[in-house]
Symmetry: C2
Subunit: 555 residues, 2 copies
Amino acid sequence: MANQVQALYDFTGEPGTTEMTITCGEMLTLINTDIGEGWWEGRNSKGQTGLFPAAYVRKLSPEESTPAKMAPPAPRYDQADDWSDQQYNAGDNNYHKSTSHDDGWDDDWDEDTYSEIGPGVPHTKAMNQQAPLAPLPGMPIADYNNQIDDSTSNFSSVGTVRKSKFAPSSKVSGESYLLGTLNVEVPDSDKVYIVQEGDGYMWAAVSQPYNVTVASPKKESKFKGIKSFIAYQLTPSFNNIQVSRRYKHFDWLHERLQEKFTLIPIPPLPDKQIAGRYDEQLIERRRVQLQEFVDWMSKHPVLAKCEVWQHFLTCTDEKRWKAGKRQAERDNLLGLNYCISLVVPEKALLQSQVDHITEQCHTFVSSMDSSVKSVTNMCLAQTKRFQAPYKTDCQKVGEAFYNLGNALSLDEGTVISTSKLTSAIKLTGGAYIKIGRMYEEQPKYDWEPLGDKFHLYKGIVGSFPDVLANHKAAVQKKRECERLTAEHKMEVAQLNEVLRRTDVISYALLAEINHFKQERTVDLKATMQKFLRQQITFYKKIVDKLETTLHQYDE
Amino acid sequence: MANQVQALYDFTGEPGTTEMTITCGEMLTLINTDIGEGWWEGRNSKGQTGLFPAAYVRKLSPEESTPAKMAPPAPRYDQADDWSDQQYNAGDNNYHKSTSHDDGWDDDWDEDTYSEIGPGVPHTKAMNQQAPLAPLPGMPIADYNNQIDDSTSNFSSVGTVRKSKFAPSSKVSGESYLLGTLNVEVPDSDKVYIVQEGDGYMWAAVSQPYNVTVASPKKESKFKGIKSFIAYQLTPSFNNIQVSRRYKHFDWLHERLQEKFTLIPIPPLPDKQIAGRYDEQLIERRRVQLQEFVDWMSKHPVLAKCEVWQHFLTCTDEKRWKAGKRQAERDNLLGLNYCISLVVPEKALLQSQVDHITEQCHTFVSSMDSSVKSVTNMCLAQTKRFQAPYKTDCQKVGEAFYNLGNALSLDEGTVISTSKLTSAIKLTGGAYIKIGRMYEEQPKYDWEPLGDKFHLYKGIVGSFPDVLANHKAAVQKKRECERLTAEHKMEVAQLNEVLRRTDVISYALLAEINHFKQERTVDLKATMQKFLRQQITFYKKIVDKLETTLHQYDE
């Protein structure tokens, strides 16, 4: 029974993957705890096997042999607030590759991503104390108890929020904005302008452009090294002060942004499914995808200046961080209500024109969605092809030549000297083996960065249908108001206000459509050029290698 | 029962292939007659399925429903003597790709290769008339009967000679030469010299070097086009007169050469297993391998001047052909007896030195045999990789980019012009699809010629163990004679003659070992250089294609 675990929460496995759906209280037999990334493999009572998050189950003691339906205990203990180490110490080079997987990386990435500063998940002290999970292996009891006492705010319910998406609440439906019942004064500094450019409308450009670098992630630790985690070092160009952020902070930020901007696609965070054979590779891929995220944020005229992002980018003080966090979570200019911050051209929009553009956008986005996914998949497939069969094929070629050279060297000398030839043939073999290794190395220069870029596009494009739906809902509300006015159930003055505000929402959509177009036109060009240059360099390297080899045959 | 056939002969399927062993009289159910190259697929009574030569079975008429063990009937009718069309008419451009497989190509290549001018297969007129197979489809009965009457000499037993190897007979054991009982005067013009060069011994060089080109094969026909076959056009440089030879003539020649030269590896004829998806490709590969065969022949000091080869290369007259053929088949200087033509240095060889060289050769040849086979297999594998997965992968890359360009083109124009970018991305897609086709085309420039060359080496190297064994047998005979002399059972004078003649045989072996070494040293160098140049050209073409594509992104 040592291999028996009990599900603490419901978990819905993603269809078509190796994930398995488990139900709270269900008994499972452990098959493999060595999956990594916080996943375990098990078998349920029906004999089905699959992966589930390790944190969603508890190991049973030998005594607990009779499966019993239990009330779900309180969620797993999360590491203590690590915000104190948020400011990265530049001299601190404490990144060490750990051989253990119990290093906080998994849960940092996986279940804990919504913890600590996450919103809306109810948790009480009582609940926390009900049945906390065992502390991490190797943690002294005293430390553990300490943490229980002072880390109340760090508990989160891992069982309910995974894969949660922002669900609209009354606070963010935008009806109060649309109907003019929202009475908020937006300070001038927070106002966002939409301007006409040619036939179209654009967000007013970022007044002070900046960029942010995401530096090589460092493994940091706390509790005297017992608990370690990966932190990314962000340096904005406007102040050159580095801040250290964990994935869970990114994730908290991402939720705030998604709540607030329902007409602006928020760039995606790194793909949880990134494959990497080495931790270093995995961490680097995540860094690249985080860099894509911050690049997109910094270049977006609205997102680049929004308060929560600025707070995330610059805050180095724990007290100020908490204050900013509370303020962000109290923000009531969410969803369509955010539009009260917008200053748009006076001109009323033609509904027919807006409809035409949104329909075209809809068509474009559906087509783009499938082609962006296909580029992403293709990059993944090519990476695998380069790293396995292409490499292996080259090595087989190399081995065949090398063995030929070896065979020939058994009959060298005497009458006709063949040593020059046999050595050239062996070198040819070596060259192909080397080319095989070049194939293995290559994806990190072309297919992987291309895939990372298209991960970004997949996220942006995938958010557009929601953006269009949010806009459509506003247009429908407007039509409803028009009907009410026709039926004399609404004042003309109020309708005019609704019309005006619907126009603001449409202006925002049009500006966002154009922003995406402008960004991708510049960005995709640079992406394709960079990709092609890397490909050219690669094939040139093969040519060079083969030319050097050919010269071995010269007299 | 229309699909029932009966085996006319025993056929032993090669283990590990799709071939199936069938036994004379056995009933089989036909599964597929569309295999090509003279093979059919069937199922035996045990339910086993596999391929067997179509010529080894007869189709049963609907009446013959009861399987009955029959005496094997006479072999299948072979096409009439086509020697009259041996001289290729340069103006005759009658090569047409036939869509039918009943065009005489299959049997020309396959079962009939040993027919017509093949030796030693007993056949009588009575046997021929016993139960001839049905004529080829579409052949008028009158023609068919005519042929039966005038083509007696064209029957051969296909059931007994397939895959036959030269089996030594008393005529070729060489004992008569070794024991000095062979009394033949070799005219000076036929004498072959072995000369000392440095520490080693070599065949005296070809006095008048020449080469022979094998031109694009032509499909020729007879019986007013009912029967057609492939003929290869050979032009020796010494007279520039083209002769036309079918595969069966090559095959006859090859048997003569193997009978005559048991100390010289005879280059192999084309691989029967050559894979080609189109007939043209198949025919061209065979031509290339025949070119390798004639090149090796023409460069070999002994083979290049031997009578049967000269006859094969130059005879354009039917009567003279038949006379030459009879003469070649009556040749009694076969096997070791051929050594009577050799003129070697006076110096007696040290047996220990000969033993050392033959042992080294044995070691070298075993190692070479496996590495040559591995290069051959590698070339075949690479050809397949280039033509299928590599091509497909490139095309998938191309399609992903092309579809991306297509998606982007749905949102062109208005505020930001993206047409330049979308067109560049589509062109990038096109470039990768083109590169895919380049991969498909490439093997005929590098992997296939390399494979053809190593097919030659596989044959040569594969013959060396027999060569070494033939030499070893002579040395053992010599030792026996030494023992007999020690026991006073043989005269010292006769022993001295045996010793002298064993030395001649050893000189021949040493000369041949050195010849192979000399040839391969020059030839492999040229082969590898040619191969590498083709590879370089290929990867340069990819670089060019990608560079052109990259320029599409320029403003």
